[in-house]
């Protein structure tokens, strides 16, 4: 199955992964090869088959609504790339006058 540059661009953007333009041809080739592998599924008759999303046929268990985790903000933020006053710092998101 052929994948266009436009499609690859769209997928890469959806996945939020920047892709170097030079690697487009080889990457497209590899992805097309993988997509070809999927053709085999077309031979299976599945109209009456229920989708299997999980190996256990169980419903989600519930538990009492109790606080079980303590506040560990500082410990959890120790591993963050950039933190200030207990907040995660990222580049400016909202443009405009300030």
């Amino acid at each position: 199955m052929a994948l266009s540059d436009k499609e690859l661009n769209e997928i890469a953007y959806l996945a939020r992964i920047n892709i170097d333009k030079d690697s487009f041809p080889s990457l497209k080739g590899e992805l097309e090869q993988i997509l070809d592998l999927f053709e085999k599924l077309n031979s299976a008759e599945t109209n009456e088959v229920e989708a299997m999303s999980h190996p256990l046929n169980l419903s989600q268990p519930t538990r009492p609504d109790e606080v079980t985790e303590e506040d560990q903000r500082e410990k959890l933020q120790e591993t963050a790339p950039s933190v200030q006053s207990g907040l995660f710092l990222v580049p400016k998101v909202i443009e405009g006058e300030n």
Partner: protein, 485 residues
């Protein structure tokens, strides 16, 4: 006999009898790691200080007759299991600076039983790979022959146990990542029933397929370790609320009358002579042990590979969206805006196989393709699982080779994703159906080990251990270990 030559069970007995201390045993392994691991690269982090501290505590407990079930046994954890305040990288640049703020349930369960942690083992990046060549921390070598791969993704765990740098190791299996390296390194490896081992703190790849397990030198050692790891965990909503049986309970019982099925679809494949002959020999051993051998059919099993390569990447694309360079892990330099931060962090932080799978998964889940790929794959997954349900009406266990061949040379398949994916044709079906599977050594070809796989019905790990142990009582393949230099 040297300490590292003893099995885990023998080491436990030695510790109990006071023949040696946990400190001696731990130091012995640490010395072996520093002598031999430079060339194998099976560890990402060696936790020497922690290990010696834990060993000392363990020795105290033995002295005061308060020893725990696995007290003083030095093991290694796959670097996919979070270990509090210890580097937990998942083999990725993305987490190359990540010290986990908490420990996984597997790590906690084993620690409560007294194990000593020697360190964290190398692995394919985010458990995606079958050769341990996709790790950011460099490839792992196969101790049987360093030109060959140890398998993956639990390649570091397999290599270190095979080289006797640890008594046993934890591992995970999404499509064969315990059983394939077990086969390629001459070990016994079990992937239990989905839900048997908690996934809490086990870094997620494909959540409906991932399952923790063990790599060890025998069925007996694997049973001892798995029992400690297993059990219901309220912190994992997919954890099974089932009692964990004594996995050693009926390990010594004869398997006379046990029904073993051979799926004709697997045996019709064009396998190399040495794989075919060693598998046939294993079947003969089972016949001699009194098992009944039956040909069975898994008519949809050939759908497994494409089903897996849609479902696993789809789930991975969702799971790995959490790596955004904001809360933990790698962040790119000088991002110009938030979009640039995401896009470049993920470009630079992930390796090529991980990116390929995220892209495939994103595509399979995207508007217009969801029904054709993802939904279709989920329906086909049901067909594969139903085949097993049908088969287990007439047999107890299903036997096949674990891998299509012995190990391969480093670099041989790394440029061809499909060739690499074919490594897992015999192991993937059990993951799709959530069933337990065990691989153990059954031969050797040109100095490289071969493995045979048994798949059991849901929750039948004890039966797998029994069948594998009885095989190991009758054969010596599992006693063959590489000479490490």
């Amino acid at each position: 006999m040297k300490l590292h030559e003893l099995s885990l069970k023998e080491q436990l007995n030695g510790l109990k009898e006071g023949s040696f201390s946990s400190t001696e045993l731990t130091q012995h392994y640490l010395d072996r790691i520093s002598s031999f691991d430079k060339s194998l690269n099976s560890f990402i982090t060696v936790t020497e200080e922690l290990a010696l501290e834990q060993a000392k505590e363990s020795d105290k407990r033995y002295k005061s007759n308060k020893a725990l079930p696995l007290d003083g046994i030095p093991i290694a954890h796959k670097d996919i299991f979070c270990t509090e305040d210890i580097l937990t990288t998942c083999g990725s640049k993305m987490l190359s600076n990540f010290k986990a703020p908490y420990s996984s349930t597997v790590v906690n369960n084993l620690s409560s039983d007294g194990v000593v942690v020697l360190g964290k083992t190398n692995m394919d990046e985010f458990a995606m790979g079958s050769s341990n060549e996709t790790s950011f921390f460099g490839p792992v070598k196969n101790p049987w022959n360093k030109e060959y791969v140890p398998g993956g993704s639990s390649g570091g765990s397999a290599a270190c146990v095979s080289a006797q740098l640890a008594s046993a190791a934890t591992a995970t299996d999404t499509g064969g990542s315990i059983r394939q390296p077990a086969a390629l390194c001459g070990l016994t490896g079990i992937k239990p029933t989905y839900g048997r081992v908690s996934r809490y703190g086990m870094i997620a790849f494909a959540s409906s397929l991932d399952q923790g397990g063990v790599l060890a030198r025998s069925a007996e050692d694997s049973a001892i370790l798995l029992e400690s790891m297993s059990g219901h965990d309220p912190k994992d909503s997919t954890s099974l609320n089932e009692d964990v049986p004594n996995f050693l309970g009926n390990i010594d019982s004869p398997i006379k009358g046990m029904k073993i099925g051979l799926p004709k679809e697997f045996f019709e494949k064009d396998l190399p002579n040495h794989v075919e002959s060693s598998t046939k020999e294993a079947i003969e051993t089972y016949k001699n042990l009194g098992a009944e051998i039956h040909e069975i059919s898994l008519p949809n099993v050939d759908l497994s590979l494409p089903v897996y390569y849609i479902i696993a990447p789809a789930e991975c694309s969702a799971n790995l969206s959490r790596y955004d360079g904001v809360r933990y892990g790698y962040r790119c330099e000088d991002p110009k805006d938030i979009e640039d931060l995401y896009m470049r962090t993920r470009e630079e932080g992930f390796g090529s196989e991980v990116k390929r799978r995220i892209l495939i998964g994103t595509y399979a889940l995207s508007a217009g393709y969801y029904d054709a790929y993802y939904l279709k794959a989920q329906k086909c997954r049901r067909l594969v699982a139903n085949d097993f349900t049908e088969a287990f009406k007439s047999v107890d266990l299903i036997l096949s080779p674990t891998t299509p061949d012995t190990s391969f040379k480093a670099g041989e398949k790394s440029d061809d994703p499909i060739e690499m994916y074919l490594q897992d044709i015999f192991t993937i079906p059990a993951n799709l159906a959530g069933l337990p599977g065990i691989s153990f050594p059954c031969g050797n070809h040109e100095g490289l080990p071969l493995g045979v796989q048994l798949v059991g019905n849901s929750l039948k790990e004890a039966q797998l251990f029994q069948a594998a142990h009885q095989f190991q009582e009758a054969t010596d393949w599992h006693k063959n270990l590489p000479e490490v230099k």
